[in-house]
Symmetry: C2
């Protein structure tokens, strides 16, 4: 039994115990900060799109703490993610959900995190180049929410989704091989640039945000902003010129036309744009009915190679911080 | 009877007619693009925070069209906003919701818009300096969602909210007088800057996004990005230095501590930051239980004066476009 099925089985057991106690789940809240919030975004998109019964929302932890949704209670499932396992806002948010009687699940990479003392179930996930993407927080959260959906109302594409979870690692490995030279060209071309716009849609919009705020702003001290491909044409595109840099994450699946429309526009009015296309990178082997939810898993792994190459060309290691964990804030 | 109560009465009548037909509302979707999406954000925040029964979500129109939430149906109320009244994605989205049997409400400033031919109820709202903010789309949508909430489950702060709606115009007028000189100082100081980060939280995060994508990117061709105050410390703040420009919208209400934390940090590590504080601008006269939902109405009006001054100093009129409505896209 792989670790995902270990976690999902444990979750289903807890949900069923609640049903036995007469408590029916009615909403799923996903709570984290920064990069960990990005890991939860695809699950939010998935439930919002697919569920008939569940209300779902995504919160940056400190907003969840200060502006608690009134419905939070024993019918809520709240999933938390903190890579470090020590984020103070997450500990606070966990306490808030626990006090409200919610079922709480935490995810962290830190084996000695104190999160398990506050949550009903804790997942220690794998991380880094050697790990299977199936065991990373984005896929684990998707798998947990798949079970929640199946438990709540039944999901017609349940088995297709599980099939995709089994296949995604091979897709990612092949895609990373494919971009091996491209990431060098990217880093060489863009090493002196100071600002990037990252565009995407659907399940991948969170990842566009993540590449902007974590990979570029936090790890490279570069200016960046994520723009939803559908929003681009309603204001943001007026900054387009031959000098502005764009990275477009083109999804496979329903929102692909939104990303393609951006590319068509950039071809006419921009010069510096990079296209990372999930279809061209082979994501299409996953079942059509669920493929769109797996775009961000592919993009995340591939973009790690882009940022790694950029960091090398810029002589700015990904680990350097000037404020985080160094000063009080 | 003012126009808001005209619209809310019509909406309640339609909701009651649905109940008579055995259809109970279960979700509220808010759908628009760009600046109009910004107008709907406070209502999304309000319902997500206050409702026990209603699921609610905010969509950029083209994503709503291409990745239709499966639950969309006759139990859904969908509110659309298109300032121009001709946005093709909005017309498409309206057709999608109509075909699903949803109750559809559209808002536009265009008296000859074709939206009324697709929606169950159409609101033509006022706009511009001379209009009462009560009759602008942000307040109208909030008022509609207040009625929806009251109709759905009863809202303990219903009368406080109505009291606030009646008072907000005077607060805005006084605040605009108060910033009269500040906006000149701002424009003079920042006229040559090319990039701004806009920070806020709670009901105002959408407005921070709106100032970035509409006022700065679209109307001034300046680089900009909105960062949630709670997210700032989880990545984005690493770009902080004495040259980077920040505008912080400090809310009155529950999420104020998030915005104040940003200010404390910027005081130590930045130099170029502008604080626009709803409390200092007098929003505190509104009832405490609902005041937070009115921050973005105040910020919008005040920020219009900031952008107007900036446009004058930069000799870049707010109306100039190079792509929107000028080229094909």
């Amino acid at each position: 039994m792989n670790s995902i099925s270990l976690h999902t089985k444990a979750l289903v057991k807890m949900l069923m115990a609640r049903v036995d106690d007469g408590v029916q789940m009615s909403e799923v809240f996903l709570v984290a900060c920064g990069g960990s919030l990005v890991d939860l975004y695809p699950a939010k998109f998935f439930l919002a799109s697919e569920s008939f019964l569940l209300r779902t929302d995504l919160y940056t932890a400190n907003e969840f703490v200060h502006a608690v949704p009134k419905v939070l209670g024993e019918r809520s499932v709240v999933i938390f993610c903190s890579h470090s396992g020590v984020t103070p806002e997450i500990v606070e948010a966990l306490k808030v959900a626990k006090a409200a009687g919610s079922l709480t699940v935490s995810l962290t990479h830190n084996k000695s995190s104190e999160l398990p003392s506050f949550s009903d179930y804790n997942v220690v996930y794998e991380w880094g180049d050697e790990s299977s993407v199936q065991n990373n927080p984005m896929a684990i959260t998707l798998a947990l929410c798949l079970e929640i959906l199946q438990h709540s109302e039944g999901y017609p594409n349940y088995h297709k989704f599980q099939e995709a979870l089994l296949k995604i690692d091979d897709v990612v490995t092949a895609a990373r091989n494919k971009v091996g030279e491209r990431v060098i060209t990217f880093a060489e071309t863009y090493q002196n640039e100071k600002l990037f716009y990252i565009l995407s849609s659907g399940a991948s919009f969170g990842l566009a945000y993540g590449f902007a705020i974590c990979s570029l702003m936090e790890m490279q001290w570069l200016h960046a902003s994520a723009i939803h491909s559908g929003e681009f044409f309603h204001g943001p595109f007026e900054i387009t010129d031959k000098k502005t840099n764009f990275i477009v994450l083109v999804n496979e699946g329903r929102t692909r036309p939104l990303d393609e429309r951006v590319i068509t526009f950039l071809k006419s009015y921009a010069k510096n744009y990079v296209i990372i296309d999930a279809k061209e990178l082979g994501l299409g082997v996953l079942p059509e009915s669920v493929v769109e939810f797996f775009n961000p898993i592919l993009f995340y792994s591939v973009l790690c190679d882009y940022r790694e190459a950029l960091a090398k060309f810029r002589n700015h290691p990904l680990e350097i911080r000037r404020y985080m964990g160094k000063v009080e804030y």
